[in-house]
């Protein structure tokens, strides 16, 4: 929508974590290049939330459209983590599925997914779950057509539940310190298995186990960004240029990579144990490292970089 122009801010100064989905998209893309599909003026809202007496959003919590990135055409989707936790409902999910299917026709340079989600929207659980499955199939189709699908993760809702599975289906992932990737959220584990298994109030434990630094060090993400839109833009451009293909060779490499990870770290209780075994000298210092220090640490960890996704 036109109003986004006024909402855009300096990408060097704009915090990814604090920005809205719309601000991220507009500041990430080339200036003025974003065109939204099914914009808020079309009012494609959830048909289900009123049953629960819950407010709706004009875009159902996801912004989709096309833009250019360094002059190349891309398709882009951004979830709004503040609306219903960025969760997948029927319309929300279908917008992402449609965008990915459109990529097969339009053959853009890449599809960017700006994750910010708690997973399935429970009020529309069956539709959300099915949309996640459709999204994963569509991503595989797009990747097999030679189009990179890049996930960017650094929002306040993180990337949980089915969102974590979709992320694992992408060609490449960039993550910031604030980005968390996980299937079961801390509260879900605690509710089902008790606080001895996972104390969800222990925020340091949450960041160590699911946070961007752990994912980057273990190869669960391919780039680590400072919390600015321009850092994510640079990471996206870099990752587009080195996306793995989707074929048997890649998946066999991923099989070997993940089996090796389980064999090597399967008895670790805490992320610091994993980091020590990865060769990080002072694993206790990792959470407090700034981006430069952390990037230097990652450069010494062999497992962090691979084409096995």
């Amino acid at each position: 929508m036109a109003g986004e122009r006024a909402a855009s801010t300096d990408p060097d100064a704009l915090s990814w974590y604090e920005a809205t989905a719309r601000q991220r998209v507009v500041a990430l893309a080339d200036p003025g290049s974003f065109r939204e599909f099914l914009p808020p003026t079309e009012r494609r809202m959830s048909p289900h939330l009123p049953l629960f007496d819950l407010p709706r959003a004009f875009d159902d919590g996801i912004v989709v459209g096309r833009a250019t990135l360094d002059g190349s055409p891309i398709l882009i989707a951004a979830q709004e983590g503040r609306f219903m936790g960025g969760a997948f409902g029927e319309v929300h999910g279908a917008k992402l599925v449609g965008l990915l299917r459109a990529a097969l026709e339009l053959t853009p340079r890449a599809v960017l997914i700006l994750f910010d989600t708690g997973g399935v929207r429970l009020q529309e659980a069956n539709a959300g779950e099915t949309a996640i499955a459709e999204t994963m199939r569509a991503i595989v189709d797009v990747r097999a057509a030679g189009i990179p699908v890049i996930g960017l993760i650094g929002g306040r809702a993180g990337c949980y539940g089915g969102g974590g599975l979709i992320a694992g289906t992408c060609s490449r992932l960039a993550v910031s310190e604030g980005g968390r990737i996980s299937v079961s959220g801390p509260e879900v584990i605690e509710t089902n298995k008790g606080a001895e298994e996972f104390d969800s109030r222990d925020r340091a434990l949450v960041w160590r186990t699911m946070g961007g630094k752990h994912r980057r060090l273990t190869g669960g993400a391919d780039a680590f960004c400072a919390d600015t839109v321009s850092a994510f833009r640079r990471a996206a451009l870099d990752l587009i240029g080195r996306a793995p293909s989707f074929d048997l060779e890649t998946l066999e490499a991923e099989q070997a990579r993940l089996e090796a990870r389980v064999a090597r770290f399967g008895d670790c209780r805490d992320a610091t144990d994993v980091w020590r075994r990865l060769g990080v000298n002072d694993p206790e210092t990792v959470p407090a490292m700034d981006t430069d220090a952390f990037t230097a640490t990652v450069a010494r960890v062999r497992e962090a970089d691979h084409d096995a996704r």
Partner: protein, 102 residues
């Protein structure tokens, strides 16, 4: 959910030519406002969907105050409310009007 609609006549149209804009996010204590330049230049309509029933008179006062200050002639304004306080609503309405003044 409660639906409220307020119609006003303004003394002048809102400056600028931007056809539409959106500001805010539907979240607890927050709201989103969609502004569309689709009405006659001396008309303004504000439609609100809110999960918190029973505050129609507060909304009416906030909207009347906004219309008097911004003179948003020509605008249809649609609000999805997440339970925002009146001062937040006022602030967002004025932000939205400023976005349209280009």
């Amino acid at each position: 959910m409660e639906s409220l609609t307020f119609r006003h006549t303004t003394k002048k149209p809102l400056a600028g030519s931007l056809p539409n804009a959106i500001t805010g996010v539907v979240a607890s204590g927050n709201l989103e406002i969609l502004l569309e330049r689709v009405l006659p230049p001396d008309a303004c309509e504000v439609a609100i969907e809110t999960p918190i029933a029973g505050y129609g008179d507060v909304w009416e006062a906030v909207v009347a105050d906004f219309v008097a200050r911004a003179q948003p002639g020509g605008l249809r304004i649609s609000i999805n409310d997440g339970g925002a306080r009146p001062d937040t609503v006022s602030l967002r309405l004025l932000q939205g009007a400023r976005l349209m003044e280009v």
